[in-house]
């Protein structure tokens, strides 16, 4: 029937671009109401007219007659004979949709029955239907097209069983067609042709660089999703054709870009200049002349950059090509849901890469539909909440910091973080601990979690298998980010950030194990360098996962070499001593990537990878560096997945936070008392044997020793002011307390005029300022400086002769003194315990944490007789250390004592499980020493 395929193809491209504009224009006409904008109507009229003319020429009779009917109605509007009410516009829109469907499936168009549409339009033209339609205004689709509904329905995937309402069929139809149509609109936007009716051959060429599917990894999956979307589309509402020819057509128009002639001319000029520069270069090289070479090089450089930029421009398209479909989407959807919405669009002119424009269609549609469906409330509800009946949706695109931002805002109901949490809990996406710790913002982001939006939420409007997680994935694969803000009752806003282009991305080139990798700059939040000296304090280890302490927060770390297996296990030593960390941020994830070295920032051109390596998740493609070396581009999201970062984050990080915070907040039960009311002292409760209440008069003084006669024995008493720099006890106090300790096997009492409290106190000890014999250090309790007493030292200081016998016995066999390895991260306690043990003659080796202790054990295990370890430590905690020791054949018999502050039964049980033999309090030196003796089996028991 059609002889000239090329001419036919021209017609499809041309008509599609004409028709693509119509929808928006018809909506504008509708908005204008009786105040008819004749110019606008004229534009629509001309577009239809040119389609009609060409269709007649090509003997496309069905298109011709449908266009003719449309033209008739438009002509009446143009001549102010007809006021374009909503029902009329509805009919026009549907007819235009049908027209577009016919054009898209051009070969079968003559077999389609459009008499229903034509009758409807004729009726409008004759002024018959208007009243009939307006009487039914609430109903969205009244006049059923005479296209047999069953034909339409059977091809709609979602409607199979029942005879669905036509409006649903139309709904599906409308959606699919609009997205299809914009593939053509893309093309139109670059067109130079201003005369709508002209049929000059368009200046077009095949997409010059690569087809979109090859540009980079991001596109890979998007292409998939597009094709699936396509396969779902009920394309065949146009009649009895099969879907195949249609798909082929769509692709044909997709791969063509119309380019502004001026732009093409510039490209030609630049190519010419490049040729010129090349000739100069060749000449200079063959003559061996060095002078002028530099200027040629800089010329080549300049021309190449310009060429690159200009070619990129041919790919740039206004985001408006996507936006323009939304007025219709919002209009139809709100009518269907009985809502009233107003869509405001800003920033149509913002230009983005063609690939991005195309790929954003589905995610944006989903978000806009979400706003209408879930965001905006029903008018009654809005009025009840004191809001305007009409909901506002704002769609805004703008440039910001070299990126394109898109915001979708609505002033609807907003989201309730608590409800989201509850739902995520129910779905098992998070556990209770996580839910409790989650901030509202984090809770909102749950909607992006895979598996969150599910059947319960799926309406025929929003649930089209495209959940918010797909939206997020699509955007992230474009190198963009998405975030959400919401306030209950006020509204929600989704914020999308996109790169301008995908083909060229600024990247950081890093080195690791002799290879170079490129990491997209867009995901790099900052660079952190941890010098060797700070490694131990900045980088911690929690359940085998490394974390970086960065300004008070914990950042999970991924080592590039371990994640990719770049270094053999015995080659770990070749790692640089200091750590270079890239803090990477993508959407919800934030982690640090440890590399060997950082090179430079470069604008890299993304090259597609072959099929053999494409599937590797951590790769986003490859690039060729200046020296010809092929560098792989790291996919920041893929790398996180590869390293199971989610698990680390979920399990370890929460835990880590607890652990690491706890470390500084070890608490001890202390007895607080005052000697003079202005000075407060503390002693550890677990050293206190008992507390006696006595009358001041009961204290006897023998020599310079205070004594209390007590149960027939004399109890030596000590006064604070005798032993240290302290204000004396106030006079005239009748009743005293005596705190009784048992030290070195003897009882001793400390006079405490007023007891203040027994409390669990976080130990942030200052071990230097107020240090003197008998004072361990000071801390602040409720704003009062409190000195923590070391009773053992105090007693020794006061009664040096008491411990005499031991010292003698110990010095008898000094070579037999056991060696103790002490793992304790707090300097204060480490020194304290070390001192305590050393005065008892033990040889003590200190280790700053579990990892250090473990390292020590590796080298000098033979010499160690007892391991004493704190429980809460960075890098490797006491339980981990104990487990490590127990699972090592050589060391498994080593006795292990744990030092704790406040150990519960649970802790004891966990400790026992890990292989800890005994628990002792940190501030109870005598028991500590006693236990150490017992456990080392030293033959030095006191006689």
């Amino acid at each position: 029937m059609f002889q000239d395929d090329e001419l036919l193809h021209e017609f499809v491209v041309e008509s599609s671009s004409h028709l693509a504009q119509i929808e928006g224009q018809l909506l504008q006409i509708e908005a204008g109401g009786s105040d008819i904008d004749v110019d606008l109507v004229n534009t629509v009229f001309r577009a239809i007219h040119s389609v009609k003319g060409a269709a007649g020429f090509l003997s496309l009779s069905v298109i011709n007659s449908l266009a003719h009917s449309l033209e008739n109605v438009l002509n009446m509007v143009r001549n102010l004979e007809l006021v374009p009410t909503s029902p009329i516009i509805n009919s026009l829109l549907r007819a235009a949709d049908q027209l577009r469907a016919l054009v898209d499936d051009i070969t079968n168009s003559n077999d389609v029955d459009v008499s229903g549409f034509i009758d409807e339009l004729e009726a409008i033209a004759n002024g018959q239907v208007q009243s009939e339609i307006s009487s039914n205004e609430g109903d969205f689709v009244v006049a059923t097209p005479s296209t047999p509904p069953s034909t339409v329905v059977h091809e709609l995937p979602e409607a199979v069983n029942e005879q669905p309402e036509t409006e649903e069929a139309m709904q599906g139809f409308v959606e699919s067609e609009s997205s299809e149509a914009f593939a053509y609109l893309d093309v139109e936007s670059l067109s130079l042709t201003t005369d709508e009716t002209s049929f000059e051959p368009p200046i077009s060429f095949e997409a010059p660089i690569t087809t979109s599917s090859e540009t980079s990894l991001p596109v890979k999956k998007i292409v998939n999703s597009e094709t699936t979307a396509k396969s779902v589309k009920p394309v065949n509402s146009s009649g009895n054709s099969s879907s195949e020819p249609k798909e082929a057509k769509a692709k044909a128009t997709d791969s063509i870009v119309r380019v502004n002639v001026a732009l093409l001319d510039r490209l030609m000029n630049l190519a010419g200049e490049l040729v010129l520069s090349r000739n100069q270069l060749l000449l200079a090289v063959s003559n061996g002349v060095r002078e002028g070479l530099e200027s040629i090089a800089s010329r080549v450089d300049q021309v190449t950059s310009e060429l690159q930029e200009t070619i990129m421009q041919t790919r740039m398209q206004p985001i408006g090509t996507v936006f323009s479909r939304f007025p219709r989407v919002v209009r139809d959807l709100s009518a269907k849901l009985n809502k009233e919405c107003n869509l405001e669009i800003e920033g149509n002119e913002v230009e983005v890469d063609k690939t991005i424009v195309e790929a954003m269609g589905d995610p944006l549609t989903h978000l806009v539909r979400n706003s209408v469906d879930h965001g905006i409330e029903l008018p009654e509800k809005r009025v009840a909440a004191g809001k305007n009946r009409v909901g506002e949706i704002r769609l805004r695109a703008f440039h910001q910091a070299g990126k394109v931002c898109i915001r979708i805002e609505d002033n609807g109901g907003g989201m309730d973080p608590q409800k989201l949490k509850a739902k995520a809990l129910e779905k098992g996406l998070i556990n209770h601990d996580q839910a409790a710790m989650m901030s509202d913002n984090e809770a909102l982001r749950l909607i992006f979690a895979p598996g969150f939006s599910t059947a319960a939420q799926v309406t025929d409007v929003s649930g089209r298998g495209v959940g918010m997680d797909v939206v997020r994935t699509n955007i992230e694969q474009l190198g963009g980010t998405v975030d959400i803000e919401s306030k209950l009752g006020v509204g929600s806003a989704v914020h999308i950030t996109l790169p301008l282009t995908l083909a060229i991305i600024p990247s950081m080139i890093v080195g690791c194990a002799g290879e170079r990798y490129a990491i997209p700059q867009a995901s790099i939040a900052e660079l952190v360098r941890v010098p060797e000296a700070e490694l131990a304090s900045k980088i911690g280890n929690v359940h085998g996962a490394e974390v970086l302490r960065l300004r008070g927060a914990l950042l999970p770390l991924v080592r590039l070499d371990s994640a990719l297996g770049l270094r053999a296990a015995d080659d770990i030593g070749s790692r640089p001593k200091s750590a270079n960390i890239l803090v990477l941020e993508t959407g919800q994830m934030r982690y640090g990537l440890v590399v060997d070295s950082l090179f430079d920032n470069e604008e890299i051109v993304v090259k597609p990878l072959g099929k053999h390596v494409k599937e590797l998740g951590y790769l986003a493609g490859a690039t060729i560096l200046g020296d010809g070396y092929v560098a792989l581009i790291v996919d920041v999201v893929g790398m996180a997945v590869q390293s199971n970062l989610r698990n680390i984050e979920a399990a370890a990080l929460a835990d880590a936070e607890k652990h690491l915070n706890k470390k500084t907040e070890e608490s001890h039960r202390l007895l607080l008392f005052a000697n003079h009311p202005s000075e407060q002292f503390a002693v550890p409760m677990d050293m206190v044997a008992r507390i006696e209440r006595i009358k001041a008069a009961e204290v006897q003084v023998v020599g310079n020793q205070n004594l209390l006669i007590y149960r027939g024995n004399s109890l030596p008493l000590m006064r604070i002011e005798e032993s240290m720099t302290a204000l004396p006890m106030e006079e005239g106090i009748e009743n005293l307390f005596v705190v009784v300790f048992r030290i070195e096997g003897q009882e001793v009492g400390l006079i405490a005029p007023s007891l203040r409290d027994i409390r669990d106190i976080e130990m942030r000890m200052d071990a230097t300022t107020l240090r003197e014999p008998g004072v361990l250090g000071s801390t602040v309790v409720d704003g009062t400086t409190t000195r923590l007493l070391d009773m053992v030292e105090l007693v020794r200081h006061k009664h040096p002769n008491w411990q005499q016998p031991q010292v003698v016995s110990e010095s008898v066999q000094p070579e037999k003194m056991p060696t103790i390895l002490l793992a304790e991260d707090s300097d204060f306690f480490r020194n304290h315990v070390k001192r305590t043990l050393e005065t008892e003659g033990f040889h003590v080796i200190g280790a700053a944490d579990g990892q250090c202790a473990w390292d020590q054990l590796q080298t000098m295990f033979e010499e160690i007789d007892l391991l004493i370890t704190d429980i809460e430590m960075p890098r490797m905690n006491g339980l981990e250390l104990a487990k490590a020791v127990r699972s090592n054949n050589a060391m498994s018999e080593l006795p292990i004592m744990a030092l704790t502050s406040l150990a519960s039964d649970d802790d004891h049980a966990r400790g026992a499980q890990a292989g800890i033999d005994e628990y002792q309090g940190k501030l109870d030196p005598s028991r500590l020493v006693e236990a150490a003796r017992r456990m080392t089996g030293a033959a030095l028991q006191r006689s």
């Binding site: 590797l616 070396y629 092929v630």
Partner: protein, 155 residues
């Protein structure tokens, strides 16, 4: 498969894999080079030697020995890259050395012996007997599908 091939004489590039002589239809060999500068691809399939810069295009290099089920060979100065283009995919094949170009009539290619090792058997389309040696004719499509399916299985 044989019946799809044209029956007239065709040119074949022959090359070595270990001690065997193999042949490939010359029309799918894009070029032969001895480029050794490779970027290794961590976590890739063992048959992927790495990726290479082929005049601005990033091309995957496969190791023929691994594809044929042999262990990795030593690197000598006879090693070559055969750059193949097949079904739209450009990829390299690292071979142990390149021999002659032979013009072979299709009728002279006989079915492969049934006792070929399983790994090779998939790739071999037929056998051609010269005066000195036996040339195993390899099907480039099979190389592509076999290597890709190997990767899929591994992944």
């Amino acid at each position: 498969m044989m019946n799809r091939k044209p029956s007239g004489p065709q040119q074949y590039t022959t090359f070595y894999c270990d001690k065997s002589l193999l042949g490939l239809d010359i029309s799918c060999v894009q070029e032969i080079n001895r480029n050794q500068e490779l970027t290794r691809v961590p976590l890739g399939h063992p048959c992927v030697r790495g990726v290479m810069n082929l005049r601005g295009e990033v091309v995957t290099m496969l190791d023929l020995r691994i594809l044929m089920g042999l262990p990795k060979g030593p690197i000598t100065n006879r090693n070559r890259n055969l750059v193949l283009k097949c079904e739209g995919e450009t990829f390299g094949l690292w071979v142990d050395g390149v021999a002659d170009i032979l013009t072979i009539d299709q009728n002279q290619i006989t079915a492969p012996p049934s006792n070929l090792a399983l790994g090779e058997a998939r790739l071999i389309r037929g056998v051609y007997q010269t005066e000195q040696a036996l040339v195993m004719i390899v099907d480039p499509k099979e190389i592509l599908t076999a290597s890709l399916s190997g990767i899929r299985i591994a992944a």
